[in-house]
């Protein structure tokens, strides 16, 4: 007897299955636009919210929901800096490195962070707690040097404040 065919919209490969809630959220987002492809970034963010990052196998799954080819989704997923294509830590630290923060000490702040966490930019701590990334101007220049941890913006941040700050993100 034949195996039942998996529903193509929800099961794409053995490795990845879109959560039904995520699929519904993607379709809801797509309804805001003339063409569903416009929800591509949001769809990637929906996957990322659930998984922390966007695994390769999520790409064809999203493509099917949006009715476009996987290459279109892959092109978008590899272009935008806040879409993560490899696993990141439980918390992502974005350190602003643009001009106003540069002038007010972002290099020193980044070095202090690197030293405390034992990682460089683009790396994740061995315990999987933090990933450290640069980000362009956070729009918090009157609070430079600034950084963002998950959804929270901090600034001005002194190196001596880092220990207390990081404690809030177990």
């Amino acid at each position: 007897m034949m195996e039942p065919t998996p529903t193509p919209q929800t099961i794409t490969t053995d490795g990845f299955r879109l959560h039904p809630e995520d699929e519904a959220a993607m379709r809801a987002e797509a309804s805001h636009y003339e063409q569903p492809q416009a929800a591509c970034i949001e769809a990637l963010k929906i996957v990322q919210r659930r998984h922390g990052w966007v695994p390769d196998d999520a790409i064809p799954a999203i493509a099917r929901i949006l009715g476009v080819g996987p290459a279109s989704v892959e092109g978008v997923a590899t272009f935008y800096s806040l879409i993560f294509r490899q696993p990141v830590g439980r918390h992502v630290i974005l350190v602003c490195d643009s001009s106003s923060c540069f002038l007010t000490g972002s290099d020193q702040l980044r070095e202090a962070l690197s030293e405390r966490l034992g990682i460089g930019l683009g790396q994740t701590t061995a315990d999987g707690r933090f990933t450290l990334l640069p980000v362009c101007c956070l729009g918090a220049c009157d609070g430079g040097p600034a950084l963002m941890i998950d959804d929270d913006v901090y600034g001005p941040v002194g190196a001596e404040e880092l220990a207390g700050l990081l404690e809030g993100y177990p």
Partner: protein, 456 residues
Amino acid sequence: MNSQRQSPVYRSRLLQPASERTPDSHPLTWRLRDDGQVVDLKDYESKQGYEAVRLVLDEGDPQAVIAAVKEANVRGRGGAGFSAGLKWSLTLQGGDIPRGYIVCNADEMEPGTFKDRLLMEQQPHLLIEGMILAAFANNARFGYIFLRGEYVESARVLTAALAEAREAGWLGPDIAGSGFDFDIALHTGAGRYICGEETALLNSLEGHRANPRAKPPFPGQSGAWGKPTVVNNVETLCNVPAVMLRGADWFQALSGDRTDDGGTKLYGASGLVNRPGLWELPIGTTGRELLELAGGVRDGRELKAWLPGGASTGFLLPEHLDLPLDFDTVGKEGSRLGTGLITVVTEDQSMVALMRNLEEFFARESCGWCTPCREGLPWTVKLLLALERGEGEAGDVELLDKLAADCGPGLTFCAHAPGAAMPLQSALRHFRHEFEQGVRYPKGKPHADPIPAGEV
């Protein structure tokens, strides 16, 4: 979040108390609360909120809105300074032309700029009202607020405000009984400075990579999904309600005899000043006035140079401090007003290091579409790094001149590369000796490459 300890949480704020702000003089900020809490729908409506929408929809003449905005000479506050009214007058509408879109450019990412965040986080309904007016004037059927992904607080506030406005009938079908339909969706991005370029923004909105499009056709002719589309900055749109309520003459008069530009501007100062911040001031306020409001240069150091409005504007000098900061005056000095938020550089800072930082930004944020930008900017960074380390080669400074000249304008699809060239050219002009000091080797003499391949 850890509440045991005082964390340096960042909050957007205006450094002018409510007692100093009036509807007559501060159209953008007079409603803002001293406690920084959101001006919600009830609060906004009690302070003349949505009165401009009611007035304009009652009158029912879109062309009158365009004429008023044109006459007021509301110039684009995202940095380009293009007349919003002129832009609107070029939007295709009428006849068989389908209704298009209003897109609010809320992708605030210009280094040194933190103004739109304030308007969105504390007064979302002013932006929504401005978008409704823009939609009516341009016959748009739907609006998008293209918000950068990192503005999480703005997203939260705007989402709540859009729901409030919809509930109250300011968005949706038959707004205020006028028969005019319009709604807005929030579209959040996922990084990349280039999304702020208006045609790249449209590609990003449509779910593509944010590469700029060739112009013409301009978005007003063929924008999102080929429909007439108007893209305006947050602050620009926020000026429209007051223009419609109080008139073009009043708006023009806000700047007094400082400048021909009308209205106020959200000005700011950051970098090496004592009191970095944000103020709503008449357009044409001078750099010296801003610097005074900002408490002067930090720690009594000497002012060396300043960027008038973001990373893509040219450096000005102390001698330029008394110029009115309007679009044309700053343009005549070989720079641009840009966003009007100044970045202050002190005498002890190396211009070479700062330029290296700026060009690293532009190189990283290039979308890679055009060759001078994709290839030229990383090369520029490499040369600047060598000069910064005192390992430059004779001819490097001249090569920087050439790379900057090759960036345009006119040699690339968009203004990203020219924006990268402008601060570099002004730094080379005003502080050339600093760059020349980094030259150590004669031209062509073999020496260790200071930067391993692939590091830039």
